[in-house]
């Protein structure tokens, strides 16, 4: 870092004391980390809230996994299941006569062992196993597409914003507004129909060609990409618009900032002005939004995975809902929430790198 023998702390104008003071580098670094620490605190609290919510949700709501199983079994077999079976199954899924506090302690203990319980639908397979099996696919799909949509939307947004009022802008912006207004699954259905059924360019379901050996070999990876292309494309298609519009507006606003004017005055090339001055700053709010959006995106994967029968966690949740696999629902929700929180934390850390002012979001 820089020298510590900075001039005596001085005060400038402005009511914000943090801006007015000029702490030495060490303190600045501490503050930066302090911001992260505080965010960490928030996420810890959020995670705690999620865990409690996850605990309470099934207990506050009607429905009981054991009777769900029995009903489902009866439906499948067309036979009556004796009451003893119900009782025995109840015992497997926890003792309903325990009081809430005891249950909670037990629940925490389970969580600590990453024991999310046993799937009802897939008894006796543990939920954690199923979740772990599905999670990578969702992370892959959602991760790449979110980043892709962000990059594409932001990139185009910068261009539209920089040329605000130009023909490009006046076509691109309303068009994007329309495109991002089309219901996502509808687009996905159409895409599936056109590119999957009619043209046959892409597979209709699944995550990869199961005939191939899994692992880091070229055919397998190619197949993963081939299978993921259509879901990914539709996600990007309907998600980039939001970023574009946000970024456009931020760019339009940022471009009027004096520092962009000054950058132009300095005679910098246009690309440099756009990238390092306008876009770099305009991106910051988008970036906060990016972090915020992750929660929605992971949730949104549900629709994608349903349309494309993609083997991810969204589909898992969808299925567990349909089959009333309560432990699975809880497990998936918890994992999704924690993953979202983690993603947010990562985004926040990146934000600290991107914005030296570590503005606390309002």
């Amino acid at each position: 870092m820089t020298t510590t023998e900075a001039p005596a702390p001085a005060s400038g104008p402005g009511p914000a004391p943090s801006a007015a003071t000029d702490p030495p580098a060490a303190v600045r670094a501490v503050r930066r980390w302090g911001f992260l620490l505080r965010r960490l605190g928030f996420y810890a609290a959020a995670a705690a809230a999620a865990i409690v919510l996850n605990f309470l949700l099934p207990r506050l709501m009607p429905g009981d996994p054991s009777s769900a199983i029995v009903e489902e079994l009866q439906r499948v077999s067309g036979q009556q299941v004796p009451p003893e079976t119900l009782e025995s199954i109840r015992a497997i899924f926890g003792d309903p006569d325990q009081n809430l506090a005891e249950q909670f302690v037990g629940y925490l203990g389970q969580l600590a062992r990453f024991d999310l319980g046993v799937s009802v639908v897939n008894f006796p397979v543990p939920v954690s196993e199923l979740v772990l099996q599905a999670l990578p696919w969702t992370l892959l799909l959602v991760g790449t597409t979110t980043v892709l949509a962000f990059v594409l939307g932001t990139g185009l947004g910068v261009i539209a914003g920089w040329k605000a009022g130009s023909r490009l802008d006046s076509i691109l912006t309303p068009l994007t507004a329309f495109l991002s207004s089309v219901p996502y699954f509808w687009v996905a259905l159409l895409a599936l129909w056109v590119f999957g059924f009619v043209l046959g360019w892409f597979p209709l379901s699944g995550g990869y060609d199961a005939n191939l050996a899994e692992g880091f070999n070229l055919p397998f990876l190619a197949s993963v990409m081939h299978y993921g292309a259509l879901p990914a494309a539709t996600i990007v298609f309907s998600a980039f618009g939001g970023w574009l519009l946000g970024m456009r507006n931020m760019t339009v606003t940022t471009v009027r900032e004096d520092y962009v004017l000054l950058a132009q005055a300095k005679g910098l090339s246009r690309g440099r002005v756009i990238l390092r001055y306008a876009a770099r700053n305009a991106m910051l709010p988008s970036f906060t939004g990016f972090a915020m959006a992750l929660g929605g995106v992971i949730g949104g994967a549900l629709l994608t995975e349903t349309v494309f029968s993609y083997p991810g966690i969204g589909y898992l949740l969808f299925e567990s809902l349909n089959k009333r696999d309560y432990p699975m629902m809880q497990g998936v929700f918890l994992i999704v929430t924690l993953a979202t929180l983690l993603a947010n934390l990562l985004a926040d850390s990146l934000y600290v790198v991107l914005d030296p002012r570590i503005r606390e979001q309002g």
Binding site: E72, S119, N211, Y315
Partner: protein, 527 residues
């Protein structure tokens, strides 16, 4: 699998049969704990684990031998002696003996949480290596079909005896079936054919199951990516069969049951038979089958499919009821009911019934058809009450409905009607697992009891006729349209499929023995 899934296998495509499973989600779970209370298990586990018997839907849904070669009840109908087929081996080479059968049959008795097949016997005892007895508390001639349930499979005692079934997922299944587990991937399961299967040698060496969706499966069938799939395909004749009548087979096998309107006799107004009759008389069944694009499959009032139960159905009651608004109005009048402002009124009480249906079956539009029919012919406004699967069953079980669209049916005449037993009736608000319509009738109870205690076919037929009459008269439920096993086949690779006109077994995946029989008949198609 997509376009490329057809190629790529080392053994060559011709040696493989591919099933596109549409109801198993996007991934399979490696779980061959076949007796556990899991709803989803590893796909086609019935090709690995077999039951003792099978039900023959080509012939009145009678019980036929499978692993059991023969059996006989004692006169009381409380002891069943079963003789096992000789020469059956597990895929690990061990012979299948009465020990295994007894172990398998006693599993649900000893551990109730695994009693998922609804067994009614009390215990099983070995007699000799190939013989064992099953003991019942009551005369149980009619309950034989439970041994045909694939949820009651025969498992090897030498493998299963020392497993904790509450945690064991049986990763390497060993059964008597024609297949062993080849490779399990969440997105594709490969089964390998045994060469020492008791039933004979299969024409294919591998059988693949890939997860797909209903829509995708259709495209995959059209492209020939998969050989078989199942699920209804409205207008399948034009959209599938017509495109290649020789190879594209869309087959409907009646399963003997029907989609029915279940009346809740546990509360007014459907506790009154006049109301039940009136509504049953004004159901626009043909409108439903028209929109289903299955004209002519309206169900008769008995609930017994006329094809499957050809020998059993009362010919006079076989025809579906036409809409008869006048008769229906007369019924209402008989019961002292009037219709006011869309509501049913009697004794100053007015009722606005609703019809419960399962949203996940997308039944709303059919409910609308019924509702329109009732409105047009009787002036009654019935409200639609769709629920997702879970809520649907909750409402059904608790008796929290007026009318419900539910499937009826079962193996044999007894199987179809047994749920109407008055023993199952519980008050509205308590969960009933059977007879959710809470209908009870002393005569019906008597007939059902009688069916359980005889295996004399003539007597059974007689009882069946009485029961049919009663059901048509009392209308505890009113069948709407026949239920089918829907099978789609692309016969480009494999030929020799049965057809609905001429079949001994249904090529329906999930009906273990039937599928095995089908497979045994197949041969690689030319060119």
């Amino acid at each position: 699998g997509g376009s490329s899934s057809g190629d790529g296998t080392a053994g060559g495509r011709d040696d493989t049969m591919i099933y596109g499973k549409t109801d198993g989600g996007t991934t399979f779970v490696h779980n061959y704990n076949v007796v556990g209370p899991a709803i989803d298990k590893a796909p086609n586990m019935e090709l690995v684990y077999e039951p003792l018997m099978r039900i023959d839907y080509s012939n009145g849904a009678v019980v036929e031998p499978w692993l059991a070669e023969s059996w006989e009840f004692d006169d009381a109908g409380t002891t069943l002696t079963v003789h096992l087929r000789d020469g059956v081996t597990f895929s690990d080479g061990e012979p299948f003996t009465a020990d295994d059968a007894v172990f398998s049959l006693n599993l649900p008795i000893e551990q109730p949480e695994f009693s998922i097949a609804g067994v009614t016997y009390e215990k099983a005892d070995k007699v000799d290596d190939l013989t064992f007895t099953v003991t019942f508390a009551e005369p149980s001639f009619a309950t034989l079909k439970q041994f045909a349930n694939i949820l009651l499979p025969m498992v090897p005692e030498h493998v299963w005896a020392d497993q904790d079934l509450n945690t064991w997922t049986n990763p390497e299944p060993i059964g008597t079936g024609p297949f062993t587990l080849g490779e399990f991937k969440p997105q594709q399961v490969t089964l390998a054919a045994r060469d020492d299967y008791w039933g004979g040698e299969l024409p294919m060496s591998t059988y693949k199951i890939i997860p797909t969706s209903a829509d995708a499966a259709k495209a995959q069938l059209l492209r020939g990516d998969i050989d078989i799939a199942q699920g209804s395909w409205a207008n399948g004749e034009q959209e599938y069969t017509a495109k290649d009548p020789e190879h594209n087979l869309y087959q409907l096998y009646p399963n003997g049951g029907a989609m029915s309107a279940m009346f809740n006799a546990g509360r007014p107004p459907f506790d009154d038979v006049h109301v039940r009759r009136a509504l049953a008389m004004t159901m626009d069944r043909s409108a439903i089958t028209t929109t289903l694009q299955r004209p002519g499959t309206e169900a008769g009032p008995t609930g017994l499919n006329a094809t499957v139960y050809a020998d059993w159905v009362d010919p006079e009651l076989a025809e579906p009821w036409p809409i008869d608004a006048e008769a229906a109005k007369a019924e209402l009048a008989d019961g002292g009911w009037t219709v006011e402002d869309g509501a049913l009124v009697k004794d100053g009480e007015s009722y606005r019934p609703s019809i419960l249906f399962n949203n996940d079956w997308d039944w709303g539009s059919y409910a609308d058809i019924l509702i329109n029919g009732w409105r047009d012919s009787l002036g009654i406004e019935v409200k639609p009450a769709g629920q997702p699967t879970a809520g649907f069953y909750d409402a059904m079980n608790l008796g929290d409905f007026d009318l419900a669209a539910a499937s009826t049916g079962g193996a044999g005449v007894y199987g179809v009607y047994s749920f109407l037993d008055g023993d199952f009736v519980v008050p509205v608000g308590e969960s009933a697992t059977l007879n959710q319509g809470r209908w009870s009738n002393p005569e019906a109870d008597e007939i059902i009891a009688a069916m359980e205690s005889t295996d004399d076919e003539a007597e059974l037929k007689e009882l069946g006729l009485r029961m049919q009459e009663l059901v048509v008269d009392e209308v505890p439920f009113s069948p709407l349209y026949d239920n089918f096993y829907f099978v789609e086949i692309n016969a480009k690779r494999w030929s020799g499929w049965p057809t609905p006109d001429n079949f001994d077994h249904i090529p329906f995946v999930g009906m273990g023995p039937d599928l095995i029989l089908t497979m045994l008949d197949l041969e690689p198609a030319e060119g």
